[in-house]
Amino acid sequence: MGGQKKTAQLIDSNGLRVDGRRIDELRPIKLEVGILDKADGSAYIEHGKNKILAAVYGPREAHPKHIALADRAVVRCRYHMAPFSTEERKSPAPSRRELELSKVIRESLEPSIMSEYFPRATIDIFIEVLQADAGTRCAGITSAALALADAGIPMKELVAGCAAGKIEGKVVLDLSDIEDKQGEADLPVALMARSNVVSLLQMDGSLTLDEFNQAFEMATEACRKIYEMQREALKTKYHIVRDVEEKNEIVEAKA
């Protein structure tokens, strides 16, 4: 509501940021799996003020037929922001930014998807940003990976995303919107934690080699933390206790 005024100081004399965080602190993250009825898999993430819904349909028949690949599934990804998701209303038509992000997000998830299981089919990933506050592509990746797992799509492992950056000359973790707009660099990263490989890396701004190494380390470490949260969210959703033959425990399954 209203326009954003330029903030005088992003890091105060105590080393705290505008939202009270330390330089290396993540914004609060909340994850929920399987919240949509029609989609094959879905997940909802709140990462700071970001509110993002990810859903997966697939594997399903390829439409139109000619896009199908003979030896594996076509993975499609659509990153889209709701008109009311940003400070100023955004036109619902896809922007060039959304098209670019759709591509890099797909390329961050596809290495993990075992698409060779489903030749001639498609796996469709939809990411809808309901509220944006910087770091949406990373949060989108985190929730999309959960949605893929929720859909029962075979994957090598989960993928988690987080960004680091530079504000007022200092390398910080997980930029918020005001820090992204007024800062000097933004470095989004997506990591496959188990095999320790990076599937998304972008940079916007200016960093020295030292600053880059610092930021990169911060971001990848955060991705590992987020991966643990993803695992927790999946286990909470599918909480299952031992089979009846082994122990006669009364069980509650949250299906």
Binding site: D40, G41, G58, P59, R60, E61, A70, D71, A73, S112, M114, Y117, F118, P119, R120, A121, T122, A149, D150, A151, G152, I153, P154, M155, K156, E157, L158, M192, A193, R194, S195, Q230, R231, L234, K235, Y238, H239, I240, R242, D243, V244, E246, N248, E249, I250, V251, E252, A253, A255
Partner: protein
């Protein structure tokens, strides 16, 4: 082995290291075997598998499926079997042989668009769509009953160990229950109330598939519903 039998595992979780085989829904990376899907880990001999909790129906040869006719072609029908691939039922795979080629209109009289058929998968591989047959006992057009659409991963639970669950359902609801491996299940009874109760029981099993004492609780629900019907 790292994961315990029946442990819930997520994609990328380490199941075991060493002299094991990577079975269904697992994969090997070097000397380690990991889960590829969310499900329950299990080991058969020295083969590790993950029993999935959810997932699309991928046809296997000999599967009995219930599908919906979506199109009539020159020599057969296209069938939606809730798989990522449309299935084909050729005229030659139906028991009615007229000794001549049936035109499209005649094919439409046998199975029309929107009809449900009980069929068997006779061919399927990576390079072509599944092929069906209705030559076989009990196969053919479905003319009555109520349909439940269940996640295919839960069909084994609907059937139960040695058919224990499905036998209980049939006896208590007085309906015939025909489960398709593709997740479509028919409940055919003498009255719609029995069919409705059977379908409710099926959805209850789907929701609570991994709980203990399920058979008893479903039976109790059915008996409660059947009172006064």
């Amino acid at each position: 082995m790292h994961a315990e039998k029946k442990q819930l595992v997520a994609p990328g979780e380490l199941l075991a290291e060493g002299p094991y085989f990577a079975g269904e829904n697992t994969y090997r990376d070097g000397s380690k075997i990991y889960s590829a899907r969310i499900g329950l880990a299990d080991v058969i001999g020295n083969k590790l598998i993950v029993v999935p909790i959810k997932g699309a129906y991928i046809p296997r040869i000999d599967d009995i499926v219930i599908g919906r006719i979506t199109d009539i072609g020159m020599s057969g029908w296209q069938v939606d079997i809730c798989a990522p691939y449309p299935a084909m039922l050729p005229q030659s795979e139906t028991p009615m042989q007229h000794g001549r080629d049936m035109g499209r209109r005649d094919l439409g009289h046998l199975f029309g668009v929107g009809d449900l058929v009980l069929a068997q998968v006779i061919a399927f591989d990576r390079t072509r769509d599944p092929l069906l047959t209705t030559k076989g006992r009990g196969l053919g057009k479905v003319t009555s009953g109520r349909v439940a659409r269940i996640s295919p991963a839960k069909i084994p639970r609907i059937i139960g160990k040695q058919g224990s669950m499905i036998t209980m359902l049939k006896n208590e609801t007085h309906t015939d229950i025909v489960p398709g491996q593709n997740g479509v299940v028919l409940a055919i009874g003498k009255n719609p109330d029995q069919e409705r109760i059977a379908v409710e029981a099926l959805y209850m099993i789907e929701r609570e598939a991994h709980t203990s004492g399920l058979t008893d609780r479903v039976r109790a629900m059915i008996l409660e519903e059947m009172k006064g019907k």
